[in-house]
């Protein structure tokens, strides 16, 4: 068995360390570090539930080795919505628009939404479909998620970028 190295990851601006076998994914590492806000849906890159931001861009954490993430700033939902007194526009919009049902897809969905807005602050409905096409939701039919992203996009544009 190969040696297990202690690695340090930068998660939501903090340094967090754990012993990580080479074959450990970033998703496994994050949940091992008690980042339960990162969800596991398929471990194959098909569902988007495990999405996190790396340098502002959404990636499936199940498709990345923990070792590959060393030295890269990782942001989970926790980091995304913190420092805004609970009023991050995406969070507020998802709550107020009733976009959350079982909630399991939501962390990945919000990460993907933020990543999309980082590049395209004013997406059309079709662009939203394309931007969120990699995040499966079985409960909502996506309608209220689009509504929430539309509202959040507007607020973020007016109030400054994240």
């Amino acid at each position: 068995m190969s040696e297990v190295k202690l690695i340090t990851l930068e998660i939501n601006g903090k340094a967090e360390s754990l012993p990580a076998p080479n074959n450990m994914t970033l998703l496994e590492a994050l949940r091992e570090l008690n980042h339960f806000e990162v969800k596991c849906g398929c471990e194959k890159g098909d569902c988007g539930a495990c999405a996190v931001l790396i340098d502002g861009e959404a990636v499936d954490s199940c498709l990345m080795f923990a070792h590959s993430a060393v030295g890269q700033p990782v942001t989970t939902l926790d980091g995304l919505i913190s420092n805004r007194d609970g009023q991050h526009p995406l969070k507020k919009a998802f709550v107020e628009k009733g976009a959350i049902q079982c909630g399991y897809c939501i962390p990945g969905m919000m990460i993907a939404a933020q990543s999309m807005l980082n590049k395209n602050p004013n997406p059309s409905k079709q662009e939203m479909r394309e931007g969120l096409g990699g995040n499966l939701c079985r409960c909502t039919g996506y309608n209220k998620i689009f509504d929430a992203v539309e509202v959040a996009a507007h607020v973020l544009q007016c109030g400054g970028k994240n």
Binding site: F36, K39, C40, C102, G103, G141, N143
Partner: protein
């Protein structure tokens, strides 16, 4: 009169002015989920915890000749490995517990394979280790020999004499008959007889959160199981499976990351209980997505054959319906799904001459069980296609044909029961079709089609199950509200709805109400979150509890305010005089009075559904279900006649929900059901070849993504207030899905002028149908 049936009379109008009920308020569970702080079952850890995995059979029909776990056991870090030999005679029931706890004995099932493998993925062994990686490694070291056994993979084949026997002596695990009127006369009176067979496919729930649980045995020998489940009442059957008294199993249901019926049966609980008991340590089992395909029962494929007589005037004279369901390898809830399908099979139409014969047949395919719609979905796929076919045969418009045949309030349904609530099918169909607006013009290879589907979907469980539900409502000294109920919240806002109801009645805003739910030891048992019953049953228990408490508060407030009780209302944290809102007492002050006077500030209620005896086995007549919901979906599609690809352009849903509790939640259910129905019609299919699953991933089993939903969707929510639920509510969980797939099918048939009878409607099947019909 049976005192338990006192809830039959329905309120015709709202009993009080509604302050909160009906509004799209922010749900109580929304904030936690939006922050990622909500803990699902897989987000718990305990000190000294082990991780467990399941070893599954890689083939569908086989004899287990040998299993050797010695190498696996020797791996450092492995705590426990269990095979059938280690758990000897233990069996687990697969039947849903009615409140009486009666179950059909023949539904008990081996927990781990003894000698016979009946489906691909059937568990052979359980492995618990210090880490998940070690458990997976140990699993790979287990050696076993399987000798293939002749299997049967098609229910029609399984019925033939000489077919391999999977269950029972003849593979028939359920049957149901309906006999009404005179079918032969009906055919003799008909001008046309239309005979068609409709087929539906295996469907996966595809909840985003795979099955998961964490169990530990505490100092009182209670087996605690934190688990993602729709049914905490399984503690009884789990206790029996592991051989302990009922009160020694505690289910702590977490908020569920999607259920849809797939977490209605026991999934990981018995495995966890066995491992936790054996090791004396907490054990966590998190299914991978790969496990989940094999870990819970699927939606039944159905073969539904109609022979329907119709007159040139457009009246259905009678219908003979033959139904076969693939029950897969084990019985689970197949007999009930079959029953629901049989009784839904004529659709929301008046059919006085009816003969239904139905069979649930065992095969070596994956076992099938509960799934949103529970047989009525498949029936709707069939009856709505049949309605269009009948209309086309006599040259009548599809809507007008339905209009001539709608079931009306007071008419007898398939079982002879006369529907007492409003039956607004006609209004729903008309409004849904009208809301489609102008038809999109065809262009080039794109053909445009429109379809509608109507439904009758029961809410509440079979009346012969004597269903009950409990809820406790209390108010704190500072006027905040607490609700305690066993209800499981599987994402539709079951918990928040109860808070909204209690808050309505006690005059407390929703954000000052909390619910503690889903703990079989501590919260009063509410029954399953299935069968569109949670709002009806637990909502009524909650309403009645809150009402009793409300009356006490109002009575005491009236004394303070110096008026008669009927002049007092509660809202906005106050008790006030109706029409003179400046005369009030705050709830906080009122409660201080109540406390001093020893007035009980909480109430526990059990709500009982109407009760009947068993269904007549020869005729299928009887009340059978408490009540039914009605509605429709209208769909416009574009079909690319060069490739067969379909785009859903417009979707309109129209449902009579009786009364919304939370309007946004109702819309959410409708929107989600619409997406699910589109997947059901167009892209979803679990493909089994010789019982082997060929589509074990989300890249092969295709649920609708954000790019696949209708370009435009509208929900029309009608409120007849005629339901049996709180404030006249019915149910929306299943109705939201039921009409969608048939509406899509009917739209496609309208576009291409021919019908694909076999779901799903893949581009290939559509192209083939176009090719066949153009000859």
């Amino acid at each position: 009169m049976d005192v338990r049936n006192e809830n039959f009379p329905r309120p015709r109008i709202a009993e009080k002015k509604l302050h909160q009920v009906g509004k799209p308020l922010v749900r109580t569970d929304a904030k936690g989920k939006s922050e990622g702080k909500t803990r699902y079952a897989g987000d718990y850890v305990m000190p000294n915890m082990l991780h467990a995995v399941v070893l599954r059979a890689p083939m569908a029909s086989a004899t287990l000749k040998r299993i050797d776990v010695s190498q696996a056991r020797a791996l450092p870090g492995v705590a426990c490995i269990l095979t059938a030999a280690d758990i000897s005679a233990r069996e687990a029931a697969t039947d849903l517990p009615g409140q009486t706890g009666r179950k059909r004995l023949e539904t008990d099932n081996q927990i781990l394979v003894r000698t016979r493998v009946r489906y691909h993925g059937e568990p052979l062994a359980l492995i618990a280790a210090e880490t998940k990686a070690i458990a997976e490694k140990a699993r790979s070291l287990i050696e076993f020999d399987l000798e293939p056994l002749a299997g049967v993979y098609d229910p029609e084949e399984a019925l033939k004499p000489g077919a391999p026997v999977v269950q029972s002596h003849d593979n028939i695990v359920g049957s149901h008959k309906i006999r009404k009127g005179d079918i032969e006369k009906a055919f003799a009176d008909a001008d046309h007889i239309v005979e068609k067979t409709y087929r539906t496919q295996f469907i996966e729930h595809a909840f985003l959160e795979p099955e998961v649980g964490l169990a530990w045995v505490d100092e009182n020998d209670v087996v605690n199981i934190r688990v993602s489940t729709q049914v905490i009442e399984h503690f009884r059957t789990i206790a029996e499976a592991i051989g302990v008294p009922h009160n020694k199993v505690r289910i702590l249901g977490a908020l569920v990351g999607g259920g849809f019926g797939g977490k209605e049966d026991i999934t990981v609980e018995v495995y966890l209980a066995l491992l936790a008991t054996e090791t004396g340590r907490p054990v966590k089992m998190v299914y991978s997505r790969e496990d989940s395909w094999f870990g819970h029962g699927k939606r039944h494929p159905f073969i539904i054959k109609y022979r329907t007589g119709v007159t040139m005037d457009g009246i259905i004279t009678g219908s003979k319906i033959d139904i076969i369901a693939d029950a897969g390898a084990y019985v689970f809830l197949s007999p009930y799904v079959l029953l629901y399908c049989a009784l839904a099979s004529p659709g929301p139409y008046r059919v006085d001459n009816l003969q239904v014969d139905s069979l649930a047949v065992a095969t070596n395919n994956m076992f099938t069980s509960a799934f949103r719609g529970f047989g009525a979905c498949q029936a709707a796929i069939a009856h709505e296609q049949q309605m269009d076919e009948l209309a086309n045969t006599i040259g009548m418009d599809r809507i007008e044909f339905r209009r001539k045949n709608y079931l009306k309030k007071g008419d007898p349904i398939a079982t002879g029961f006369k529907v007492e609530s409003e039956v607004w099918t006609e209004q729903c169909v008309d409004q849904a079709m009208a809301a489609l607006g102008e038809k999109t013009p065809a262009r080039g290879a794109l053909k445009i089609g429109r379809g509608v589907a109507a439904y009758q979907q029961s809410y509440g469980r079979l009346t012969m199950m004597h269903d009950t539900s409990e809820c406790w409502v209390g108010i704190e000294m500072d006027g905040t509200v607490v609700v305690r109920s066993g209800v499981t919240d599987i994402g539709a806002g079951q918990g928040s709805a109860l808070c909204q109801i209690a808050g309505e009645l006690l005059g407390v805003p929703l954000d000052r109400a909390v619910i503690y739910n889903s703990d079989s030891a501590v919260t009063p048992l509410a029954g399953t979150s299935t069968a569109s019953r949670a709002l009806y049953m637990t909502g009524m228990a909650c309403k009645n509890a809150a009402t009793a408490l409300r009356e006490r508060l109002i009575k005491r407030a009236a004394v303070e305010l110096g008026v008669q009780t009927h002049h007092v209302d509660l809202a906005n944290n106050r008790a006030f005089v109706v029409g003179r809102s400046e005369e009030f007492i705050s709830l906080k002050d009122l409660l201080a009075h109540c406390a001093r006077d020893g007035i009980h500030r909480s109430e526990l209620v059990q709500f009982n559904a109407p009760v009947t005896g068993p269904i007549d086995p020869e005729t299928g007549q009887g009340r059978v279900r408490p009540d039914y919901a009605y509605g429709a979906q209208a769909i416009e599609v574009a079909v690319d006649t060069d490739t067969g690809e379909v785009t859903v352009l417009k979707s309109v849903a129209a449902h009579d929900v009786g009364q919304c509790i939370n309007r946004a939640a109702v819309e959410g259910q409708i929107e989600g059901g619409t997406a699910m129905g589109i997947g059901y019609a167009l892209s979803e299919e679990l493909i089994y070849k010789q019982g082997q699953l060929m589509t074990p991933s989300f890249s092969e089993y295709l649920i609708p993504t954000a790019e696949d939903t209708p370009l435009e969707h509208t929900s029309i929510i009608l409120e007849s207030r005629s339901g049996l639920g709180p404030f006249g509510a019915k149910g929306i969980g299943e109705p939201a899905l039921t009409p969608v797939a048939p509406a899509v099918e009917n739209a496609i048939a309208d576009a291409i002028g021919t019908r694909v009878l076999d779901f799903p409607l893949t581009p290939e099947k559509i192209l083939n149908a176009l090719g066949d019909s153009s000859i």
